[in-house]
């Protein structure tokens, strides 16, 4: 199995950012088909048939999400593209925005037309200044061609689309925090329900999708939901972008049919572990998904169900590769530093829990761990995840527990021998080995 380029088709061509190049490769044909030959109900059917699931991490079926919106309800209704891409390890949305921005815009217009939404925002993380400029330019082009604004393609349908620039807060990737941020507030997640479809931006019905989800919409409409669905597995329709990084021979963003065997992706496409080293572990879907060991990867397929059956998640499709030389205590500690920095502080269990986790992992890493520390972390976990407003609590507890359970002996080494002590022991072992070999 090779790569299967639907979204990434032509993405590396010079000039594919421009609307002319995009149109020359069939761009905006999906929109014309949707608006001129299909009813909103037919569009919704195709999306349902396609089995497209949200690519922002949770994998919620797009067709079901779209059906929550009452098309004819009066008053403003909003569409939001989540371009906050902050999950460590993830770098796919940035590529689409900078290299093929029109595929996002086309998908958004089709979605807006289908659900009867009048205004859209693309919420771009503050660090993505270059993608922000690329999106702005593309939006301008789409307006000038009559794909945005009033009376789109002569159908009487109006839709305005704008960019928005975040300012550095991972939590704003949570769709409800994102909406608060768009409203000019601190990015605190909201309690759900009510869900965005009932009470979203400015309290109005709102649909939020990830960049990649929108990017799949136009190809689905142009080629049919069945075509897309059959690119993947019966439960995980279509293709998915996988970004692979770390100790891997050929890091980058690849588009694969869902259901592609892990082994083929890792070994044939990405070239395996860098420098011929041995694999120690991977994170399959961004730092919030539990780490997997080589034996757990046996027979794993790259789709939602298969990765879940191995005890982890597809997440954002952000694979991080660790070779045999990796210090997993250091990895866990660095990942925890991120969560401690990014907890928004709204819920006590998450705010305090993050600091405790970070402190305890810190003292372990710095050689001052206590024998009971790992049990304390296990125990603390019970009080965090279930008691918070958003999924952030689970997003750090679950992967941290996986680190300490799967690499318990490494953590215990740090605790029992201390960091510098451990290094000293290893050095001594190496020396005696050298002597023995001499």
């Amino acid at each position: 199995m090779a790569e299967n380029k639907v979204i990434l088709d032509h993405i590396d061509d010079a000039g594919e950012q421009a609307i002319e190049a995009y149109q020359a490769h069939g761009g905006y044909k999906g929109l014309e088909k949707a608006m001129k030959q299909m009813t909103p109900a037919q569009i919704l059917d195709e999306i349902k048939i396609s089995n497209l699931r949200g690519r922002g991490g949770a994998g919620f079926p797009a067709g079901i999400k779209w059906s929550f919106i009452k098309r004819d309800a009066p008053g403003p209704k909003y569409l939001i593209c989540n371009a906050d891409e902050g999950e460590p390890g993830t770098f796919k949305d940035r590529k689409i925005m900078t290299s093929k921005p029109h595929i996002i815009i086309e998908g958004m217009i089709i979605a807006a037309y289908c659900m009867g939404l009048d205004t859209g925002y693309i919420y771009i993380r503050g660090e993505f200044f270059e993608p922000y400029q690329a999106m702005d330019k593309a939006i301008e082009e789409a307006y000038s061609k009559g794909f945005l604004g009033k009376n789109i393609l002569g159908t009487g349908f109006n839709f305005d689309l704008h960019t928005y620039l975040g300012a550095g807060a991972y939590i704003c990737g949570d769709e409800t925090a994102l909406m608060n941020s768009l409203e000019g507030k601190r990015g605190y997640p909201r309690l759900k329900p009510p869900f965005p479809a009932q009470f979203g931006l400015y309290g109005r019905p709102t649909t939020v999708h990830n960049v990649e989800t929108f990017a799949a919409v136009a190809p689905i409409i142009a080629n049919g939901g069945k075509w897309y669905s059959e690119l993947g597995t019966p439960k995980s329709g279509g293709t998915k972008l996988f970004g692979i990084s770390g100790h891997v021979e050929r890091p980058g963003v690849y588009e694969l049919s869902l259901g592609t065997p892990w082994k083929e992706f890792f070994e044939d496409i990405a070239g395996g572990v860098r420098g011929g080293k041995k694999l120690k572990a991977i994170i399959p879907g961004g730092s919030s998904t539990p780490v997997l060991l080589p034996h757990e990867l046996e027979g794993m397929l790259l789709d939602y169900e298969s990765i879940q059956s191995k005890g982890s998640m597809l997440g954002t499709g952000a694979v991080i590769v660790f070779d045999e030389t990796t210090d997993m205590v250091k990895v866990a500690y660095r990942a925890m530093k991120f969560y401690a920095h990014e907890s928004c502080g709204q819920c006590t269990p998450c705010r305090e829990g993050c600091d405790w986790y970070y402190d305890i992992l810190g003292r372990i890493y710095h050689g001052e761990g206590r024998i009971e520390d790992l049990d304390t972390l296990e125990d603390l976990a019970k009080y965090i995840g279930p008691n918070t407003i958003c999924a952030f609590g689970d997003a750090f507890v679950t992967p941290m527990l996986a680190f300490i359970r799967k690499f318990r002996s490494e953590f215990m080494d740090y605790i029992e021998k201390g960091k510098y002590g451990l290094q000293a022991v290893l050095d001594a072992e190496k020396k005696s080995e050298e002597i023995n070999h001499a």
Partner: protein
């Protein structure tokens, strides 16, 4: 010294104004854009900026201050002309970013977060920049530099030093 937008900032602000509903809620949505525009003009968010942003967005200074402190990218003090933001998250550190960061700080003669005495460089550690496939990643002001090594960073710094 009271702060206000210069002409180009004002034009930018009006451009943003068209994106949101014409009501108090829509005006409040301009708080973050107004803070950005202020920072582009002023370099950082001062108390005067906070008061000004509150005034033009119809919100309270306390609200604007609360927003300012929530978002990492809003600076509350002046930084060097070249703001070096080193990602040291998982992938970048696997590729050596933590060492590059520490050693670059040493070479610049500053501690993490500090600014060189000539006002040219500030070096900070940041979270995943969403460019892990070409890590280590360094962001200087708005621009990304990828595949960083210590010598590449050194070259960049020499280049920036020479720049006016």
């Amino acid at each position: 010294m009271a702060f206000s937008f210069n002409e180009s900032s004002m034009n930018e602000f009006h451009k943003w104004g068209k994106k949101f509903p014409e009501n108090p809620e829509g005006r409040r949505s301009l708080v973050i854009p107004a803070l950005w525009i202020s920072q582009w003009q002023n370099g950082y968010i001062s108390k005067d900026v906070v008061n000004y942003v509150a005034e033009i967005t119809g919100t309270e200074p306390l609200h604007v201050w609360g927003v300012t402190t929530f978002y990492t990218m809003f600076k509350r003090e002046k930084t060097g002309k070249f703001f070096l933001q080193f990602c040291t998250n998982i992938t970048c550190t696997l590729m050596g970013a933590d060492q590059i960061f520490v050693n670059t700080c040493k070479k610049l003669g500053i501690k993490p977060g500090e600014t060189t005495s000539d006002g040219k460089f500030t070096a900070v550690e940041v979270e995943c920049l969403g460019a892990c496939g070409s890590s280590p990643t360094l962001q200087v002001n708005d621009k990304y530099y990828t595949h960083m090594t210590e010598s590449e960073v050194e070259k960049l710094i020499a280049e920036f030093r020479g720049a006016k």
